[in-house]
């Protein structure tokens, strides 16, 4: 087992990793910027090193500072958390050169997955479904008709040189294609001096579905089911749940098998998440892979009983998945997470400052991951996530009722938080039915007015 780990992060995820280390008997080193001197991750780590001034670029993203802190504290490994340096292949490489274990996949894999087109090709090769595209420009309307006939409608025409919606048309039937093709092409010519168009399958109501995977360093991969993350605002997830109501046991089993094969081929290691868009008809298309632990990992922990961060540490210690995971992992109940952000619930403006009262909900089926406390300060330099509220119930109905009561018992004073926003979302009929997509928040905010 690893002996001592440096956590190259802050906030709730730093505390999460410290907790996992403590439970495994691993010593911990926190790093912190001057703005985080009184943070709980500093308080609860065995050692703590100040690595720079408040700005992330000068501290948490400062590779030499983080590596030096690891060297002077003589750690075996670095856990990068999420965000910050977690998907920085160069950082992983510096760790390797410095003889410090980076808790995550090898830099080559991170790099591969970081390049969208390469990642798509790797997935496609392994028979993971990717969003169909025309492989370059289509020659003319004739060609476009042929391609669309193959993948099925709706499709979307996009200007090769384009952007901002110009030269873009959604095509729902073969009949309307020729006219829309010509309109898009001439619009593109006018706007960019280039009328060339390419095509993609168009998804009317995309759901964001992602699969959690774990891979050891001996070639074994396990898939720990999916999470539903369609409740997003400006690509920021607000609410996540597991399992997804839309993923059938068949889709789940088929995709799991495919992903297992694919990630074994790629040589993936440690925890990772594969993101998909899901169509109304249940078709599902790869978008990208996140080569790190995810903010929303607790919902998977709740329904599987597997501690993902401890699994990461044990994988990095060289253990095999069959030592780490129980034989037969079943989905048990339903879990939902709300990301509690320090921001105005209507205007979404960030709200840094001193927290004057902080009472977290507890009781049956409620988990809170936070590094905040009464009299603590939310500094203005970092992201606005101050707590994750996770509930687990025997089914989605119980989980929703539990979340509503927990939100009502979550008291934060001194700053604005997204708690009232979450309360409104949980009252929303569309949310409660569970039949939503990534455009839910647009509709919801319009409804709320």
């Amino acid at each position: 087992m690893l002996r001592k780990v440096l956590i190259a992060n802050r906030g709730e995820i730093a505390l999460r990793v410290i907790s996992a280390c403590k439970e495994l008997g691993i010593q911990t080193v926190a790093v912190y910027s001057e703005a985080d001197r009184n943070s709980l991750h500093v308080r609860f780590a065995d050692e703590a090193v100040c690595i720079g001034p408040p700005r992330p670029g000068d501290s948490y993203l400062n590779v030499p500072a983080v590596i030096s802190a690891a060297e002077i504290t003589n750690v075996d490994a670095i856990h990068p958390g999420y965000g910050l340096l977690s998907e920085n292949a160069n950082f992983a490489e510096v760790c390797r050169v410095s003889n410090i274990k980076f808790i995550g996949p090898p830099p080559e894999v991170t790099r591969l997955m970081g390049e969208k087109e390469k990642a798509r090709q790797a997935m496609k090769k392994a028979n993971v479904p990717i969003l169909p595209g025309s492989d370059g420009v289509v020659a003319d309307a004739e060609d476009a008709l042929k391609w669309a006939g193959q993948v099925g409608y709706p499709v979307i025409l996009k200007a090769k040189a384009g952007g901002g919606g110009r030269g873009m048309r959604i095509v729902r039937t073969a009949e309307e294609l020729p006219n829309l093709y010509h309109a898009a092409s001439s619009e593109a010519t006018n706007a960019f001096g280039n009328g060339e168009l390419y095509m993609e399958k168009f998804i009317e109501r995309p759901r964001h579905i992602e699969f959690q995977i774990l891979a050891d360093e001996h070639g074994n991969v396990e898939v720990l089911f999916e999470r539903e993350c369609s409740i997003q605002r400006r690509h920021q997830k607000l609410i996540e749940e597991a399992p997804s109501l839309q993923v059938t046991p068949e889709i789940r089993a088929h995709l799991s098998a495919t992903l297992k094969r694919c990630l074994t081929e790629i040589g993936y290691q440690n925890a990772g998440t594969i993101e998909f868009l899901m169509d109304e008809d249940g078709s599902i298309y790869f978008i990208e892979m996140n080569t790190r632990i995810q903010v929303e990992h607790p919902v998977t922990e709740a329904i599987t009983g597997v501690d993902l961060v401890k699994a990461q540490l044990r994988i990095a210690s060289g253990e095999r998945l069959d030592e780490i995971l129980p034989k037969d992992i079943q989905i048990r109940g339903h879990a939902i997470e709300c990301r509690i952000n320090a921001e105005h619930p209507h205007r979404f403006t960030p709200s840094a400052g001193k927290i004057t009262a902080f009472n977290v909900p507890g009781g049956n089926g409620v988990r809170v991951d936070t590094a905040q406390y009464a009299e603590g300060v939310v500094p203005p330099y970092y992201d606005s996530l101050i707590a994750k509220l996770i509930v687990h119930g025997k089914d989605r109905e119980e989980a929703i009722a539990r979340m509503e009561r927990a939100l009502g018992m979550f008291v934060v004073e001194g700053i604005e938080t997204s708690i009232p926003l979450h309360q409104d979302i949980f009252k929303d009929a569309e949310f409660r039915v569970g039949d939503f997509d990534t455009k839910f928040m647009e509709r919801f905010l319009a409804r709320r007015g």
């Binding site: 001057e34 090193v49 500072a65």
Partner: protein, 174 residues
Amino acid sequence: MKPDGIDELKELIAFLRENEIAEFDLDRGDLKVRLKFASAVVQAAPAVSSGMDMVALARLLSAGGGAAAAVVPVAAQVPAIGASAGDPPAAAEEVLHILKSPIVGTFYESPSPGSSAFVSTGDRIDKGQVVCIVEAMKLMNEIEADMSGEIVKRLVTNGQAVEYGQPLFAIRVA
């Protein structure tokens, strides 16, 4: 209690002690006092007040139109010397400049093992003069003085790990 109320503060503390107060918080305008008598804390408690630097506190309290308050937080890492949170009230007080480490790493007093130290206590130094090395990621980073003056004290030992902002030298500014 007037802005320069060190005497009154002392008087207050004596009075609290007389009255067997265990803990005391006062927050008035720009003044905050919080203390806990050591004897009252039965045990184990985080000794907020033990080692409370009265001089530093006084300086903080006397910081004129004091914007911020004097607080004594859990992990208060106020360096003993030269907190310099305000201007000298009366004269008498000597304020030392603290040269802090701009990076995380290992402190070395000399360019190589065995060679003599860049600077010693009592040395006069000029701004820009190399005073030590902080090794980070196998790189030897020469640290230069940011003020001219006299080295009064070295605050770390040779080979010691230092974090960002850690005080390295106290310098009497000339």
